[in-house]
Amino acid sequence: MALVTTLLMMGILALMLIAFTVRLRAQGFFGLQSQSGLAALNAAEAGVADALSRLTANPNWSTDLINQPLPSGGARYSIRFSPAASVNNIGGGMALPGPRGPVQPGTAFLVVDGEQGLTHRVLEVVVTRQGPASTTASLTGSGVIRLRGNVEIDGIEGLSNPVPVDADVRSGSSVNSAGQVLWTGAPGESATIKGSVFSASAHPSAIQMGGASVTGQVQNNQPSPPPPIVDITGRISANSGAPAPALVPGVTTLAAGDYYVAGNLNYNGDLDLQGANLYVAGNLTVNGTIKGQGSVFSGGNTSFYGDSEITASNAEQVSLYSKGSVALRGFDGTTYLDNLVATAGNDANGVPYSTHWANTRNWTGQAQTLLASFGPTDYGFQGSDFDFCIDMLGHEATADVTPPFVVAPNEMAPVVKLNNLLQAQPVSPTQQFLLKKFTYLQDPTDQFKGLYAWHTDMGDMQNDVNAALANGSTDGLADGSNDSYSTYGPAQQALIYSLISSTMNQLDYDRLGAAHFNGLIYTNGYFYSENEVNIRGGLIAADDQTQPPGFPDPTNPGLQVNPGDIYLNRGVRVTFVRDLLEQSGSTIGTFQVSVWMSR
């Protein structure tokens, strides 16, 4: 009996021993697995760091890294580039297909696989380049924000992704008096702000927007984070050893690199930056526009005019950092054309120029409306109403009699007719600006050139669309994208649709004479803009107490426009573009991970 009891006890003890051993083994296994997982994660993070370093050396880097060991051996990481894995679109102008959807221009989507033994940890990251100043509002001023005449402020996610976002207006002026954010307009003029208006001032009338349409909040006593202070002078000094730019009349294209001008720079023409950084120690005056991709630092005041062309590429954007004040002026092109056609009479065929002008605006507006009614899956049918609109705008052919468009032969191609009228006018800055703009829309001497250009075969269409996908070119894009759409796959169709939508939306059919600027404008002085200017990006006026007082307000000589103030006068439209601002200053910024994801 005692033996049986003993054996029974032995059995129980043996079971306990087995359970304990199993627990020990499990503990050991989980401990080892945890350590392997951690080592694999460290390897994956090292891979991300390696990628940031390689992108800094070469922003177009896209060479596979396979089984890269950490210095002490053991753990490794791999990065493979393909549309199903990692995609580098840092230098791209258009979105590219990626494993989680489109990879936006100016970003890289990286999939990094870290491994330790049999354990893998995969990180997915979105890499962007961060400039020295960023903003989450369309207008950020440390002083007063003054709006006058027709003003429109709205916001979108990106030029190729025009989903509306709030476009806030923020005044950091805490002066306890009325009118820290102010709109004044004559009868018939309007102001629309698709976002909120905030003032740091506690004065109950700090915000005076009577008559304006504000879709968000209107709140005083709302201190905002102070605008960032960029060391403009320091950056200019640090680059004083860079070569001077070789300026030529007309258009100066600056290739990637740094350029330095010791004194003032007065230039008659357009500055086209191709990844360039321009440092000007003194004042910068450009009697033309600043466009392309790059950064401009001005140690004094800056003055320039807007561009006649538009772009659908987020990569096409300039970051302007001005120690002194900035004046961006347009040409009042729409008013010029209104007045011109009212007195120009009829063309050679007896059609009033006013009809051509009205048709240009009307058909552009209709094309925009039609595009907005489509989606990526129902765009692109030859013979669609959109196709007719584009043909009618630029193509001098037989009359269109397809309802709803019934157009007399002599009314076709109004853009070309207006171009002819403009050529006959005395030379003036506005006349020259509008000529460039109408030629951009449709070249009068070559019907295969221009945004509305016509095509005769599928190869031509695809060439234009491929160029647009590659670099944001808009030549022949409207007709080409529509007619060759069905020859592309769904992923590319989505990109093409967003490209043509973005391009047409920016035309602003009611303000076809507007000048354009894409990017960020940052000043330690005041910002002033007038005469029909469209700004896509954002404005920051950050008073750092180094700049003298500004100039008398033309609408009220008793007031002054001072450093930190923003003044938008007569026909200024600001479209806050979130994606574009995230890339502002990217040619001088550092790479960073903006989104981390773990599989």
């Binding site: 003993t6 401990g31 350590q35 080592a39 993070e45 090292a46 760091a49 800094t56 210095p71």
Partner: protein, 122 residues
């Protein structure tokens, strides 16, 4: 008598297994604590972006003074559940803006774990 003998032998074996098992469990727990401490250093380096660009060795037993805030705590030492851990950190530049950081944590003289990652240091 035979039963008593069997029980005695079994109990001795059981006590031995339990003792060594408990010791292993404690070591495993300490090892996990050390791993967490090392991970904490690497995580703080990643968040702060503060990485020296040259090859350096920081011995937590001395302790070697920090350079511009590097290495971050818990360097040089940490005590968890009355058990002291000592950290050793080394940096090794791979490229001018790409630096490897190795963290070794030692405790009770004979135990150590090592973990390593690399950082982008523009």
């Amino acid at each position: 008598m035979l039963a008593v003998g069997i029980v005695a032998v079994a109990m001795l074996a059981l006590i031995g297994v339990f003792t060594s098992g408990l010791r292993l469990l404690a070591q495993s727990r300490d090892s996990q604590t050390a791993t967490q401490l090392a991970r904490q250093v690497l995580e703080q380096v990643r968040v702060s972006g503060n990485v020296p660009h040259n090859a350096l060795t920081f011995d937590g037993s001395v302790p070697t003074p920090r350079v511009a805030g590097f290495p971050p705590p818990p360097y040089p030492t940490a005590t968890v559940a009355n058990l002291p851990f000592t950290l050793f950190v080394t940096t090794q530049p791979i490229r001018s803006d790409f630096v490897a950081v190795r963290v070794e944590v030692r405790w009770q003289q004979q135990h150590r774990i090592m973990t390593e990652s690399c950082f982008y240091a523009p």
